[in-house]
């Protein structure tokens, strides 16, 4: 579903390698966790996947389509939830959702059914008629999640999705992620919360200083690190410089 080939991005005239020649493949029906310390290159990688940051070299393929060669077709298959919900404060929640549904060409009855379903799940029904400026951070985050689910994307990409969500919503989100994978769709998300990654992900990649330093299922990572270590220990050992 997602294939990353030799992807690199440098800043400050090539002095800082934010992403250094990474390769990844995520299969359909997988929940893929993307882990790493602050500034490791997680968000940079994700931005290159969704069309927000042009790679210096390398390719990102969504279902075989190159994101930077054929962006329109690739973007129809994905949706993106950024780490901070920057959205239009002066629109009503429902107007924002309708706008998304229009752009993705979702017919009225389908959008109504989907929007109502997710509004129920995230308990946003009583607020969606108000303007977004009146929402809390978490409510905005939920609205962005719903807008990203309206067109039922093949690949659901999330950057730190649990930040700002209350425990109930973050539980619901994990359920949705699992459900989507059962339907054969794909989820790719970055996180700091190692517990979540450990319990939820089919496979995990750990990135540090722009390079992927570990990749595999939880048990593969454990095998590499020695018996029954928690992901936290593995993470700390791998990302420790000294």
């Amino acid at each position: 579903m997602l294939k990353i080939r030799d992807l690199s991005k440098t800043y400050s005239k090539g002095q800082v390698k934010a992403v250094d020649n990474i390769n990844l493949e995520v299969r359909s029906g997988e929940i893929f966790g993307f882990l790493g310390p602050n500034g490791a290159g997680k968000t940079t990688t994700i931005k290159m996947m969704v069309g927000l940051l042009k790679p210096d070299s390398g390719h990102v393929y969504i279902d075989g389509i190159d994101v930077w060669e054929n962006p329109l077709e690739a973007k129809k298959k994905i949706s993106f939830v950024p780490d901070t919900p920057e959205i239009y404060d002066k629109l009503k929640g429902i107007e924002y959702l309708n706008f998304f549904a229009d752009i993705y060409g979702i017919p009225k009855d389908v959008r109504q059914e989907r929007i109502e379903r997710y509004l129920d799940i995230f308990e946003l029904k009583d607020a969606v008629g108000n303007i977004i400026g009146s929402y809390s951070h978490g409510m905005k985050q939920k609205l962005v999640l719903i807008s990203a689910l309206i067109h039922d994307p093949q690949l659901f990409i999330l950057d730190e999705p649990m930040v700002g969500l209350d425990p109930k919503s973050s539980f619901k989100l994990k359920e949705i992620m699992r459900e989507r994978c059962n339907e054969g769709k794909t989820v790719f998300f970055s996180t700091h919360v190692l517990d979540v990654a450990e319990k939820l992900c089919d496979r995990i990649a750990i990135i540090n200083k722009g390079k992927i330093i570990a990749l595999g299922t939880m048990s593969e990572l454990r095998n590499r690190a020695g018996d029954n270590e928690s992901l936290e220990r593995i993470f700390l050992e791998l990302t420790d410089d000294e």
Binding site: S12, K13, V50, G51, L52, L53, K54, W68, P71, L72, E73, K75, K76, I78, S79, F80, P82, E86, I87, Y88, D89, K90, L91, G93, I94, E95, N98, F99, F100, A101, D102, I103, Y104, G105, I106, P107, K108, R111, Q112, I115, K125, D126, A127, V128, G129, N130, I131, G133, S134
Partner: protein, 556 residues
């Protein structure tokens, strides 16, 4: 306390003008080009400015001949102070009340007057950029042509430094009082927009009325000619009453050789300082009252639930985008006042100035035009086309997205839909402008059916070209980092650049029309205009197609 204010000023200036960001951008090769390119674009504004300055230069002689050369100075100072006052309202409003840094500043142990003083100084810097280009040609012409002495130049420097103070103090006091009393729960935005519009119309009306009364009382004076000869400050004394501080500054400069000049300088500077102190004092009492309510957002009464009818049918991407743009324009007070407010106010002022004139010049106007509706049509088309830039919709459309631009860059929207949607939102504002203009023209009996048709159709065609031209500039260097909606709208250099380029374009078309009028029938000229506007719209459209695609990829 001084230290606190100084550090607030420093951070506010840095934040407002993005100084740290410029340093950072100078390091990157791509952005460095933009910064170097910028002065070149500003140079393109020089031809129009040169015309203005040479006009001012000649004006001096006219006033010299009738022995009223002080009036020349008054003109420069009065115009710049009035412009500062009237533009100051919106500026103060956004700087004090709608900027996001208030969320950070209020919880800090700062007094209202610390915040207000710091913000006042940053505004002063911005206001010099507005006032100096207007007033400097007057001051320099007067000094050079009249061979004035050293003291004149020293006084000028002092006066120039203090020119923005009284206008900004006035605007600050009125806005602070206005915000305190309109801090009504519920429909606060609406109350404020309507209140602001009424306040501006009343203030401008008051100003026009005073000027016309002063003018006519002077002309009707039986001894007018006698006094004109004996009192070399007659014009200044009579017309200066419409804004006395300008009169004091003028008299200070005119009488710089005598004690009178010194006293007027003291008066001008002293009152500026007292005004500032009073404003700071007032801010302690009213500033937070108006502000606190502005930050919170009220949800509508009752439930925020939606009905089945709230789920819209499937609109095309460009319609959805255009509708979103229009909603944001109408719901963000600063955007509304600058876009719709801009296109509505000019025709209304035109009507008001005619209303308030003692001797109605309508007869003269009609005679001048000689029932030649074609002149009105052509001017009307030019005016509507120019509004296509002045409404600020096109040349700020990407800047206004700010941090939300990620939404458009990650969505599968075709570039042509981006263009159509955004042009449509500008045409919506233009239509309002056209309706108001046609209404005013009809009221004055200056339009017929053919004119309505021509101004609407050709005006809209011109608006498309102008909006696209603005969009080209805006997508080339979008201003995306902002904390205050005033920034992408009025503090955005793209607006200025678009005005420069747009007026060059309009001058060229005007010149073409003028030349054509000598050789072919007017009916054909409308046809040629239509073709020129359509062709240039298409050219701009093609440029936009490529530019938006590229910029959406490379922006970081």
């Amino acid at each position: 306390m001084m230290n606190r204010i100084l550090s607030l000023i420093k951070i506010d200036i840095n934040n407002t003008y993005g100084l740290s960001a410029i340093k950072y951008r100078l390091k990157s090769k791509k952005d460095r080009w933009q910064i170097i390119l910028f002065p070149i674009i500003i140079l393109s504004l020089l031809p129009s400015y040169y015309l203005l300055v040479s006009g001012i230069y000649k004006m001096y002689d006219t006033f010299l001949v009738i022995g009223q050369k002080s009036m020349f100075l008054l003109y420069g100072i009065l115009i710049s102070q009035l412009i500062l006052t009237f533009t100051g309202f919106l500026y103060v409003l956004s700087k004090y009340y709608f900027s996001n840094d208030m969320n950070i500043l209020i919880p800090l142990p700062l007094r209202p007057r610390d915040i207000i003083s710091a913000k006042f100084f940053t505004m002063m810097i911005h206001e010099y950029l507005t006032s100096l280009p207007i007033v400097l040609p007057f001051i320099i012409t007067y000094g050079v042509k009249g061979n004035e002495g050293l003291i004149y130049w020293i006084y000028s420097l002092i006066i120039l430094l203090f020119i923005p103070v009284i206008p900004l103090v006035l605007a600050s006091i009125i806005v602070m009082a206005f915000m305190k009393f309109t801090n009504i729960k519920g429909k606060k935005d609406l109350v404020r927009i309507v209140g602001y519009a009424i306040m501006m119309i009343l203030l401008i009306g008051f100003q026009l009325k005073i000027q016309s009364m002063a003018g006519s009382s002077m002309m009707n004076d039986e001894d007018f000619l006698y006094r004109l000869v004996t009192d070399s400050n007659l014009f200044v004394r009579k017309l200066g009453v419409s804004f006395p501080p300008s009169m004091w500054a003028t008299l200070a400069l005119y009488n710089y050789m005598s004690l009178t000049g010194f006293l007027y300088t003291i008066l001008f500077v002293g009152l500026s300082l007292i005004g500032f102190a009073f404003m700071a004092f007032l801010s302690e009492r009213v500033f937070f009252d108006g502000l606190i309510g502005s930050i919170e957002v009220h949800t509508s009464q009752g439930s925020g639930r939606v009905k089945a009818s709230d789920f819209s049918k499937n609109y095309s991407a460009y319609i959805a985008l255009g509708l979103k743009e229009v909603k944001l324009l109408l719901r963000t007070p600063i955007y509304l006042l600058n876009s719709v407010g801009g296109v509505v106010i000019f025709p209304i002022l035109m009507i008001m100035s005619i209303f308030l004139e003692e001797a109605v010049p309508m007869g003269e106007l009609n005679m001048l035009i000689g029932q030649n509706y074609h002149i009105i049509n052509l001017v009307g088309i030019g005016y509507v086309t120019m509004l296509g830039i002045l409404n600020c919709v096109g040349c700020t459309t990407f800047s206004r997205e700010g941090k939300n631009l990620w939404i458009h860059r990650t969505m599968p929207i075709e570039v042509k839909d981006q263009i159509f949607g955004r042009v449509l939102s500008s045409l919506f504002v233009q239509l309002i402008g056209i309706i108001v203009l046609l209404g005013c023209l009809a009221y004055m009996g200056l339009i017929n059916l053919q004119g309505i048709f021509l101004i609407t159709i050709l005006g809209l065609l011109g608006s498309i070209a102008m909006t696209e031209l603005g969009m080209i500039i805006d997508i080339y260097r979008p201003l995306l980092e902002w904390d205050n909606p005033q920034k992408p709208m009025k503090q955005n250099l793209n607006v200025l650049i678009a005005m420069g380029v747009g007026s060059l374009y309009l001058l060229a078309i005007g010149f073409l029309t003028y030349k054509l009028m000598e050789i072919i029938d007017i009916i054909f000229i409308y046809g040629i205009l239509a073709v020129v506007l359509i062709v240039s719209s298409y050219i701009f459209y093609s440029i936009l197609l490529r530019l938006i695609k590229r910029q959406f990829e490379v922006l970081e």
